[in-house]
Amino acid sequence: MIEIQNIHLSFNEGTPLEVQALRDVNIKFEKGSFNLIIGANGSGKSTLLNILAGSLFPLRGKVLLDGKNITKQPVHLRSRNIARIFQNPTQGTAPELSLLENFRLASIRTRSKTPLVGIDKSFRKVVASHVSILDMDLETRLEQPMSSFSGGQRQALSLLMATFDHLDLLLLDEPTAALDPKSAELIMNLALKIVREKNLTAIMVTHELKHCLYPVDRILQMENGRLRRDVDPDEKASLSLSDIRDWFL
């Protein structure tokens, strides 16, 4: 379970340019739940995700992972429990490294990077069978650099990479924003499938209202740095897209 307590963050504090990005936000995310955070630009949803990922530290408040305080833990240490899918598919994978090398890194995300060669025949086989579930004919292109794949393919690969090593929490930062509608749907379904199969906790930030119609567990709406709405599964079942649109009026 991941929990944020009284999180407060403002940029340029104490100057006329001060922006209060998050104001005393409290949320508990249950283990094995798929959470959707929606909000307009500037609502604080991305800041919240960055605080969970460790790329921003809050001015006040705590981040607890299974009761352990990880508020000031840097990204590379937090990565032992947390994986992140970036909005821009080019950020989540290393473009000049081959597909195989990207997966090698993903497979040792929680371990030390030793000066020994870890890519061998058996590893190659594991990756090939892993990427074959995408049905994108990638298993024959393991040696190609990541930059030779499309945005949709790279985003799908980053999802697989995220779950290639131990994982408690999956953070999805508008993962479909840079994709065409067909790839976006594929990524959403793949994310749901992976999270359910591995019983992961997932937190996804989006401004696409139609994502609320996917079978997610909980919808949270952010507004002006505060948690505006918190919709549980029962309540969510009776919501229509136009109801959700009305939240933003």
Binding site: A53, V75, P95, E96, L105, K113
Partner: protein, 290 residues
């Protein structure tokens, strides 16, 4: 003939520095100016050590340590104080000048009477062949180590750090530490070249490093351009390409001098040659970021 054989040895001896530049420039995306300072540092440390009766092996090792320290400092300034990498390198390069001068106590140390790596073997009659006999195996060993390192898990993490820093951090890689280690290795290699060249030329000079970074950048790019022409992009070919780049560059310089070029214009010719190789990919419709 000896003139060109000598260019061959110098080109090979500069190969270690070329690899250093390859690491900092291509793996970490940092054009590392520390090179000018750490190259002379390697020469200065070795000269003082050899003049004091030390062996060439310990001189080489001490040079690597000195260069690695300089690289570590540049890395620390860049990552901890958030100073632009180019400026951090210039700072250490400038400071290294004083360090080198105080190490050497004068601007030039002659090494005519000392034993060194290049006169350590007497297998052939020709001293140049003996020099090659030791230099080539040492380079092969060093190059193989580099290829292995870059293909290892640690090396993949290094390459990801320069290529996609956000992704690298989210894969559990401490990117700042990785950059510091990378710059330490790069400058260790550069200092090794400085040590070798001082041993080969039988002197260390306080000004021998001026503009050497340009030679390294040029060699890396010449090597890449040549390997690209043959469609060879693997790490082995990159590492090999750097050596070829160093040799081509050194031979062009030797030819220019042999054809009667005023030595005062040597640095200008060097810069021009690098400019030509930087612009080749543009003319071929490709972009290559420096």
């Amino acid at each position: 003939m000896n003139f060109y054989l000598s260019a061959l040895i110098l080109g090979l001896a500069l190969g270690a520095m070329g690899w250093g530049i390859y690491l900092s420039l291509r793996i970490f995306n940092i054009p590392d100016i520390t090179t000018d300072g750490s190259y002379t540092l390697g020469a200065a440390i070795s000269a003082v050590h050899l003049a004091g009766g030390g062996s060439w092996l310990s001189a080489s090792i001490l040079a690597i340590i000195g260069g690695a320290l300089a690289g570590t400092l540049t890395g620390l300034i860049h990552t901890k104080l958030k100073v632009n990498a180019l400026l951090a390198g210039i700072l250490i390069m400038t400071a290294a000048y004083s360090v080198n001068l105080s190490l050497m106590q004068r601007s030039n140390i002659p090494l005519l009477q000392t034993s060194n790596m290049f006169n350590s073997l007497s297998f052939f009659k020709s001293p140049i062949l003996n020099s090659l006999l030791i230099l080539i195996p040492v380079l092969l060993l060093l190059g193989s180590l580099l290829v292995y390192m870059l293909k290892s898990d640690f090396g993949i993490a290094m390459r990801a750090t320069g290529n996609a820093p956000l992704m690298a951090a989210s894969m559990g890689i401490p990117v700042n530490t990785m950059k510091i280690i990378g710059l330490a290795i790069a400058n260790g290699l550069t200092a090794l070249s400085g040590s070798w060249v001082a041993q080969y030329q039988n002197f260390a000079d306080i000004n021998m490093g001026i503009g050497i970074v340009i030679f390294g950048l040029g060699a890396v790019m010449i090597g890449e351009t040549i390997m690209d022409l043959f469609g060879k992009r693997g790490i082995i070919f990159r590492i090999l390409g750097v050596i070829i780049g160093c040799l081509v560059f050194r031979f062009v310089i030797a030819l220019s001098l042999a054809s009667g070029l005023d030595p005062n214009w040597l640095k200008a010719v060097t810069a021009l040659l690098v400019l030509v190789f930087v612009s080749i990919p543009r003319f071929r419709g490709k972009t290559l970021a420096l």
